[in-house]
Symmetry: D2
Subunit: 343 residues, 4 copies
Amino acid sequence: MTYRIGIINVTGYAGMEAARLLWKHPGARIVAATGRSLAGKRLGDAFPHLALYGDFTITEEIETDVDIVFSALPTGESAKACAPLIAQGVKCIDIAADFRLREPGAFEQWIGGGKPHPMPELLSEAVYGLPELNRDRIREARVVANPGCYPATSILALAPAVAAGIVGPQIVVDAKSGISGAGRGSGGTFGFGDVNEDVSAYKIANHNHQPEIQQELAGLREGPAPKVTFVPHLIPMTRGIHATCYAPLARPVTQAEVTGLYRDFYRDAPFTNVTEAPPHTKHTLGNNMCLVHPVVDERNGMLVAVGVLDNLVKGAAGQAIENMNLMLGLDQPAGLDHPAMFP
Amino acid sequence: MTYRIGIINVTGYAGMEAARLLWKHPGARIVAATGRSLAGKRLGDAFPHLALYGDFTITEEIETDVDIVFSALPTGESAKACAPLIAQGVKCIDIAADFRLREPGAFEQWIGGGKPHPMPELLSEAVYGLPELNRDRIREARVVANPGCYPATSILALAPAVAAGIVGPQIVVDAKSGISGAGRGSGGTFGFGDVNEDVSAYKIANHNHQPEIQQELAGLREGPAPKVTFVPHLIPMTRGIHATCYAPLARPVTQAEVTGLYRDFYRDAPFTNVTEAPPHTKHTLGNNMCLVHPVVDERNGMLVAVGVLDNLVKGAAGQAIENMNLMLGLDQPAGLDHPAMFP
Amino acid sequence: MTYRIGIINVTGYAGMEAARLLWKHPGARIVAATGRSLAGKRLGDAFPHLALYGDFTITEEIETDVDIVFSALPTGESAKACAPLIAQGVKCIDIAADFRLREPGAFEQWIGGGKPHPMPELLSEAVYGLPELNRDRIREARVVANPGCYPATSILALAPAVAAGIVGPQIVVDAKSGISGAGRGSGGTFGFGDVNEDVSAYKIANHNHQPEIQQELAGLREGPAPKVTFVPHLIPMTRGIHATCYAPLARPVTQAEVTGLYRDFYRDAPFTNVTEAPPHTKHTLGNNMCLVHPVVDERNGMLVAVGVLDNLVKGAAGQAIENMNLMLGLDQPAGLDHPAMFP
Amino acid sequence: MTYRIGIINVTGYAGMEAARLLWKHPGARIVAATGRSLAGKRLGDAFPHLALYGDFTITEEIETDVDIVFSALPTGESAKACAPLIAQGVKCIDIAADFRLREPGAFEQWIGGGKPHPMPELLSEAVYGLPELNRDRIREARVVANPGCYPATSILALAPAVAAGIVGPQIVVDAKSGISGAGRGSGGTFGFGDVNEDVSAYKIANHNHQPEIQQELAGLREGPAPKVTFVPHLIPMTRGIHATCYAPLARPVTQAEVTGLYRDFYRDAPFTNVTEAPPHTKHTLGNNMCLVHPVVDERNGMLVAVGVLDNLVKGAAGQAIENMNLMLGLDQPAGLDHPAMFP
């Protein structure tokens, strides 16, 4: 059988990337896709790179029966749009941030602009959709909170070390992102003339992905909760995130020990590889891989852990499809096992 | 059955792109791949984006039985390397320029640096591998000359107009290329500090793709042979070619007439579309499409015909796979019908 | 004495570039600068790269006595804003297109959106501000129409050949521009995610710089007026224009003859050089040079003439300062003779 | 009087940038410039952006009397080349790393590849050329070690906090650099196809700029020496360095207190400004400014201090000229006070 997928807001970067990746998925296909400003248009006319979708038309609402829905609405609008579908028994993967922070006050403070969560009862039920940590729970979930692109990269870089207790709680995450992480809507703010040949930090130690990283790392081990200083940077490229994570070692470890520990941790993960050399974001361009690379700085007793991925794939739409595969009982890598594009 | 492919020089851009695209081809798979400098290395270690190939190892020579071979050697070395395989009955697709110029003197003048063609008997037999023009002959060919990236773009932009006789013989082709068109070997010449934030023309009216364009256009219609002024430009991007072609109209035509004529010409071509608006190279990033767009400049009696494609796919490795599909009796689009990547 | 400059709309790309270049001009300085949305702000706060201007404040109107005014308003708004100042005896350089097309109907058709020119009496008086062609008339002018960035490049590439009568009237100009040519206001349309790794043509044979090029070339020689097919392209860089111009030769000429003719034509021009090799836009990054390079394509009887410049300097603000120097009786290169920035 | 400058290796990025910046310096001019591979060529032919230098010719050796010499030779070759000139009384600014690490063993370990320093007696005399820290000593110096581009950025971002003792000794410096930081010679390694659309870390916790940062920070305050974990990253742009520095607070401080402390520290520094918002590298493109921006992360008791500059100007050639001005008794900002280029 072929499962039926609905995409809410196919016209943002994450939505259109899901459409790109789902073309020829062996177990599921898009049967409905919404997008307010472009409703009534054919998908291939709105986005010429999706011309293969032929006369598939963007609608205002999900008007067909679907088994699962991806919501790529902006954060804050997503939970409300998903709720009626969930009530009808449709499985839901939220690519926005609405279901990520489990503590109700955290949503209010970081995401909702002071307003409480619209569906607190669903919030407690939602599973954080990072299969490297929560594969079995994702399989059973009705609602999956798809990770943010920065948290996905940072958590995968740090998780083995945090879980093993080899680092202390004071952690720095310095992340570099291509412009598409900011979403298609922000073309106005991120004109080529401003972004090209430039790098800058933004929302220094004040980005809503910080509590998300902290929450998930805290779940990996008993003891003092990690305290994460998170600084994102915008760099002149379209896709890709590079997180460089720094954590003081809690006890002396060798490089070989740490590499072994990372390899063990990701032994069964089809989409996270531990590399011998510092990885390049471009090695994951367009595919669902996350590459991680831990380095022991013996001089200073510091662990440096690097993670890279494509923010629109493993950092958004690809991750959502991986979660879908698990929720629907399909093979975890179905439709996602292709090489990256290089150069 | 699954056909067995050999790739000579998998370590250049065209060779590694063929490997990327052939992953999971439904009717053929790579069983041997050579690359002098990296022989003995695993493909996924040499090129991390191809990590899925697992323990597949690069060799010095094609050491396994193959049904078809792609040669991605530098121009001038390719014919010699292919000849013994062709003699053994292996079908051959030459991605270099060795079999493109049919007139023996042309090879000597433009390609061979004054030396004659090493296999003149094969030269006369080789078919120019642009299925939009030569599909049936490619099906029967033993040796296919895969088109150059500039000629593929330019010929597809101009062919319907030239074949219909609506333009005169004096043609200008102004082409813009991303840096990967120059090949991986030229990293030294094309450092980031030189190419970024720059555009320049090179080999003005003196590039060896000029006679190739001229030869193929001349084959489309009786009458005075086209005289093509060809100027290539290097622009700061990695992939993509944009050819803007100018030809004085031989008789008055309307825009509707020309658009209709182009649509008719490409009605059965799975990989060439006529667009309503000026196409973007990025709309073909990573896939095998060529987008063409003819405009009638009524004020000046000029046809402007634009063509765009990804130089490593429809301009090289994808085109080679399309030719392979035809030569092996597989579906023409097999393994190549996926959306482009955007943004 | 130090002349007093006013800048209308210092907050667009051309206005802020004028401010950058005028810092430490030996004969003139900015005493007033307007910019509606940022009125009241300090220039160095609005644009950190201009921090040296200290507490210089942007105003709503020119409130100080000035000797000369640069208008960098959008085309269509500029003439009206300049008229009262001109009436008061202030010399005016219009960086917009309001005074460029001398035929009143041409303004209406190409620039004014069907509306007639607001100041037709000034229109006939305005001098086209390309000193390579009109130096003496600029010296006497009250109103100078600063050339468009595409026309400046194209005319300087073609002028010697057209003036000498060595080419026929049917001319193709294929131009490639960095994104800043579109102006700061268009950040919304030209987001990084759309522009990066892409090239496309726009307004094919329908851009308002076409009649401007045609008008100025027509003034260079008696005989049939040039017919210019002009196609602009957007490429992924911030600054720089590269015009590749094609014109059939009217009579046989040698490369040496053409090179000599170009060198003679620009012998006294401080800012236009004839190069031995194809020039790079980056060789003019940030300075007021235009580099031109003519090539005879003997095979096809075609002249290929390349011109490159920085669209914000020789294509806008630097050209305006060069015109100012002439209008005020200062040295033509005053304040403008510095190397380009490379890499 | 006009001082006479010699440049050793004008053909590298730092050397040619010095030539660009020294055009029209009010108190000094280049009278000799060497460059082995291009000796005998005119500077403007070798580098078209320097065409204004007219018939100035590159030589093999400094053949003219000079008052001061800039050495832009590769690290390890510089000290030997400067020694005879210093012996003749020529003041010397070494843009390479040969005189930066004062401890003789440090040179051997980090710079010399196991070989001892060739001029240990000069090593102890050399002054580290960061005027924000050592202005008076630079004024008296015969030999100045021009800072590395990463150290200049990092030290200026951290110095006020370290000097004031508000941070502990365990410091992380995460630096992002444009490609020109790697020098012109490395075009081969850093081809456009590899660098574009990519970010990666390199020499993780093992770069020779780490001991340089540590040495200079250690000199700012008594107490336990700083332990710096330094990770450089390459990003797809030509110029610009962004250092994001992390240091745990040694005592509670407010944002206002830290901002005040930074402003006080740089009150007399003409080229280092403290910004209100996160600075962009592009705000310093082509000029000698360093912009710093400290942020207190109160949640985690961490100081985040950002520094940005143009690696070829304040990170190399501009800094060298600033040092020259001090050594020759000229105004510190002479020839260097121009706006940055934007966009």
